[in-house]
């Protein structure tokens, strides 16, 4: 990928004048002028000259011109609503050019490029992640590539229908039922015609009886077929979306952590619920509905032309206009109701918010304030609902009137034919009117279908996007399955950043012997958690490698490896279910004896048995409450039962009473015995017990050694320890 954006002519000429004959190494446009108004500015590194240019008609003015050799480092200052690219010159930060939030990422890359250039390193390529449709430039949603304007409707529809292939037979059945049902439905007005034209004039009671029976039969059959069709259709549609949801969920479980970083949970959940719901609506109701309406419109048109083609032409003239008007009204109603629902959701949000905080509201005696807030939203909602209902109540009768006007035409012109003894009977006229009544509904439906279709296809595309995203199991999964993991871990020159241009760990190397415990120490944000994330292979290293028992992590079978990892995290997490299920989470085949043994070792058995439901006590979301200390011990029991070769321990910072603390400590000590342990340590005792301490500072290994060695060194660790002692002393006093 290139390191420079394409320069406009004026800017290119100005660059050529300022730095004749130089190669353009970096070029990027900003969207703010020097006075911070919106405007265009260019940052260019041409040869050894750093330039900032302001385009000025067909020319450009050079506003900054520096030799690259002056620049020691490049930085981005984060401002409110944007940022500033800066160069460090003689220890001073010099502003180069500002940009808005829209370009923060671009200039993050430019910073990295300029920094590399200043330090004589190769310039990394620009990675424009701005989420625009590559073909039309429309800004897209959260990390989606599905552009509603450019979505290849045919391809998506084909792929969507490929999910229908297993149910081909049933779909054919639906189609046949649809056709048959419509045919019977169309019979009714024609029989009316026969009654009027044949039975009445000839006073034929027997024929009348037969015709009425036929009429009854056709409507009963049409209804029954309709019911059958709807039931089969609902099953097929539901089943296809069931398949899609299952595939989607399975896929989500295997997606890489990077995917989850880039996509907020809410966005992913919306794909699972809303998008798949949209697809289901489309498949279960939309397609059959559109299909049956097409058949209906076709059938009705054929019948009216059969009865009297001239009158049919006349009557169908207003149809496009009525449809257009109806479409317009639908669009308006959509907006109106959209606003109404939006008000609803805000109303709902404020109510839910207040009710979930009842205690706090009461404690601060803010009821009147809350009632007031509620009243404002309630009034908003009232206004929107009145507006929506009134608009609906106004336009719907108008559409009805318009549609009715078609029948007036039939009455008059059809009547004229009859009065003039033309080739039309009263029966024809009545049948004609009957068909006309059947025409406008489906026509209306089809115009709506036209709007429905793109929405459903975009939803489908968004789902396919997840299905096509890179999953961790595919990306260099590794196939080495050793007999066992002994637990010798080595980080070798590891460099890693969640975004590649912004490394969080820089050239980190250390080694942990089997069964030893490594304490990770450092300020928050130093990179401790990143070390753990890499060890779990939630992410792959950018440079260097991690070796487990001498095998590169990339080569190890991921599932096997993760199965030999265990973690006790700061925030003890329990799933919804019983305590026993929670303990057995990593080993579903464990017996009750195993579970109790693990709980006993974790000092959890006694409190569990004391619960009313013992090991069957429900915990998690809807379950009973466990105290922080109890949750900790359930999690420790889970790790003990899991029996990992490598253990990750993120010590809790939450304070519990001294006795519980002692019990947890004891449980942890039993857990870590004999296992390679990575501990993010907060307790002095843990630091002392660790075989080695790794002090991380700003992504680099600051110090490595035993507690005693590092204490003697009087460096970063010693200072952290000093603070720690102070706070724990005051905490102890505070108790």
């Amino acid at each position: 990928m290139p390191t420079a954006q394409e320069l406009p002519d004026g800017v290119r000429q100005a660059v050529a004048r300022a730095a004749p004959g130089s190669e353009i190494r970096i070029a990027a446009a900003s969207d703010l002028a020097a006075d911070r108004r919106f405007g265009e500015r260019w940052f260019v590194l041409a040869g050894e000259r750093v330039l900032v240019l302001a385009p000025n008609g067909s020319d450009a003015e050079v506003t900054v011109d520096l030799p690259l050799s002056d620049i020691k480092e490049a930085e981005c200052e984060v401002l409110v609503g944007g940022g500033m690219l800066q160069a460090v010159i003689k220890g001073r930060k010099v502003d180069l050019l500002p940009y808005t939030n829209a370009l923060a990422e671009r200039f993050g890359t430019v910073r990295g490029q300029l920094d590399a250039a200043a330090k004589g390193k190769p310039i990394p390529p620009a990675r424009e992640k701005r989420n625009r449709c590559p073909s039309c430039g429309l800004i897209l949603g959260e990390e989606t590539r599905a552009c509603p304007r450019c979505v290849r409707k045919g391809a998506v529809l084909r792929r969507l229908l490929s999910y229908a292939r297993p149910y081909r037979g049933l779909l054919w059945l639906v189609g046949i039922l649809m056709l048959a049902g419509t045919t019977f439905g169309l019979a009714s007005p024609y029989i009316t015609k026969l009654v009027l034209d044949e039975a009445f004039p000839h006073r034929n009671g027997v024929l009348l009886a037969w015709l009425v029976i036929a009429m009854a039969a056709s409507s009963v059959l049409s209804t029954l077929l309709g019911i059958w069709r709807a039931r089969v259709g609902a099953w097929v549609g539901g089943r296809i979306s069931f398949d899609i949801r299952a595939t989607l969920y399975e896929r989500l479980q295997w997606l890489s952590m990077r995917y989850f970083d880039r996509h907020p949970t809410g966005a992913i959940i919306s794909r699972l619920t809303q998008d798949s719901g949209g697809v289901q609506d489309f498949l279960a109701f939309g397609l059959p509905w559109i299909g049956s309406n097409v058949v209906m419109v076709g059938g009705v048109t054929a019948m009216v032309f059969y009865i009297n083609w001239k009158l049919a032409l006349l009557v169908l003239i207003p149809a496009p206009f009525v449809s257009y008007f109806a479409l317009h009204v639908w669009h308006k109603m959509h907006l109106v109701y959209h606003r109404f629902w939006y008000r609803w959701s805000r109303f709902y949000a404020i109510s839910a918010d207040a009710l979930s905080r009842v205690k706090i509201i009461k404690a601060f005696s803010q009821q009147p304030h809350e009632i007031n807030r509620f009243a404002v939203r309630n009034a908003d909602l009232f206004g929107a609902s009145v507006f929506a209902e009134q608009t609906w109540g106004t336009y719907m009768p108008l559409i009805g009137l318009l549609i009715g006007s078609g029948s007036l035409l039939v009455w008059y012109f059809g009547g004229l034919i009859i009065v003039g003894r033309g080739p039309m009977t009263v029966g024809d006229l009545i049948a004609f009117l009957g068909y006309l009544g059947m025409l406008y509904g489906p026509l209306n439906a089809l115009t709506q279908g036209a709007q429905w279709m793109p929405r459903a296809l975009t939803a489908a595309e968004r789902i396919f996007e997840v299905l096509d995203a890179e999953s961790e199991s595919e990306k260099g999964r590794g196939d080495v399955v050793p007999d066992n993991i002994r637990g010798e871990v080595e980080f070798r020159n590891v460099t890693f950043g969640y975004e590649k241009h912004h490394p969080v760990l820089k050239d980190v190397s250390f080694k942990v012997e089997r069964g030893h415990m490594l304490g990770l120490v450092g300020k928050s944000g130093a990179g401790k958690t990143t070390v753990i994330n890499l060890l779990c292979r939630f992410y792959d290293v950018d440079e260097g490698e991690i070796l487990v028992d001498g095998v590169s992590l990339r080569d190890l079978d991921l599932s096997f490896y993760r199965g030999r990892l265990g973690a006790v995290l700061q925030e003890p997490f329990l799933f919804s279910g019983t305590i026993a299920e929670n303990i057995a989470y990593g080993r579903p085949d464990a017996t009750m004896e195993d579970i109790m043994a693990a709980a006993k070792v974790a000092n959890a058995h006694d409190f569990i048995v004391n619960k009313a439901d013992g090991y069957d006590e429900q915990v998690g979301d809807q379950g009973g409450r466990l105290s922080a200390g109890e949750k900790q011990r359930v999690c420790i029991a889970r790790a003990i039962l899991h029996d990992p070769a490598i253990l990750i321990l993120d010590e809790a910072t939450a304070s519990v009473d001294l006795e519980t603390e002692a019990q947890i400590q004891e449980a942890v000590a039993r857990l870590i015995a004999g296992r390679t342990t990575f501990a993010i340590a907060h307790r002095l005792s843990t630091l002392r017990n660790a075989s080695n301490l790794l002090v991380v500072d700003e992504g680099k290994v600051a110090e490595f050694g035993t507690h005693e060695e590092l204490e003697a060194k009087k460096g970063v660790y010693q200072r952290l320890l000093e603070i720690h002692r102070k706070t724990s002393m005051t905490t102890a006093l505070g108790r």
Partner: protein
């Protein structure tokens, strides 16, 4: 243990790098009088602030304490480092001497880039996004709004903040003060 209750009166001298678990001095705000504060440029062009005879800060940062509701009321003067400490809260900063005032204003202008919306020129809804032309105090810009519901903040009864799809935020200080067309378009958008 990190969030220990710190004891009042302990010194920080022994732990210069401590930030999170620091045993700090009694927390109290320091208000600076305009007469105490001088802001000027040094010979090499850097901004520098002196607080009486007591302190001198090179390249300080000036942050608004309430940038939305009361942008000019309290200005936090901070050390240059992004994690640097507050030197003091300057109120009534418009009473600074002229040079200081201009420099503070320039620093604030440099930092606070969010535009204020003056007029909505046009808006159209296409393919699930709304493309609007906003006229702001920083000029005219075409913006793309997406998932509007999640990107609108209502402050009080008539102030609205809209964040566009690219992360830029537009401030509408008083909806009722907009012209009728803008108001109608805004109602349509929201």
């Amino acid at each position: 243990m990190g969030d220990a209750e710190t004891k009042i009166g302990e010194t920080t001298a022994a732990a210069p790098e401590a930030t999170s678990a620091e045993a700090g001095a009694a927390p109290g705000l320091r208000y600076l009088e305009p007469s105490q504060v001088r802001v000027f440029r040094t010979e090499n062009g850097q901004v520098r602030t002196t607080i009486g005879d007591e302190r001198s800060i090179i390249a300080p940062r000036f942050l608004r304490a309430c940038p939305l509701r009361d942008p000019d009321r309290y200005i936090s003067i901070r050390e240059a480092d992004p994690n640097g400490k507050e030197v003091g809260l300057l109120h009534r900063w418009r009473q600074l001497d002229r040079e200081s005032r201009e420099l503070v204003q320039a620093e604030l202008d440099r930092r606070y880039l969010y535009p204020v919306l003056r007029r909505i020129v046009s808006s159209k809804h296409v393919f699930g996004v709304t493309i609007c032309v906003f006229e702001t105090d920083r000029g005219v810009r075409e913006v793309t709004l997406r998932d509007i519901r999640d990107n609108v903040i209502y402050l009080g009864s008539s102030r609205i903040l809209i964040t566009d799809a690219e992360g830029n935020r537009y401030d509408i200080p008083d909806v009722d003060a907009l012209d009728a067309t803008s108001r109608a378009l805004l109602t349509q958008i929201l």
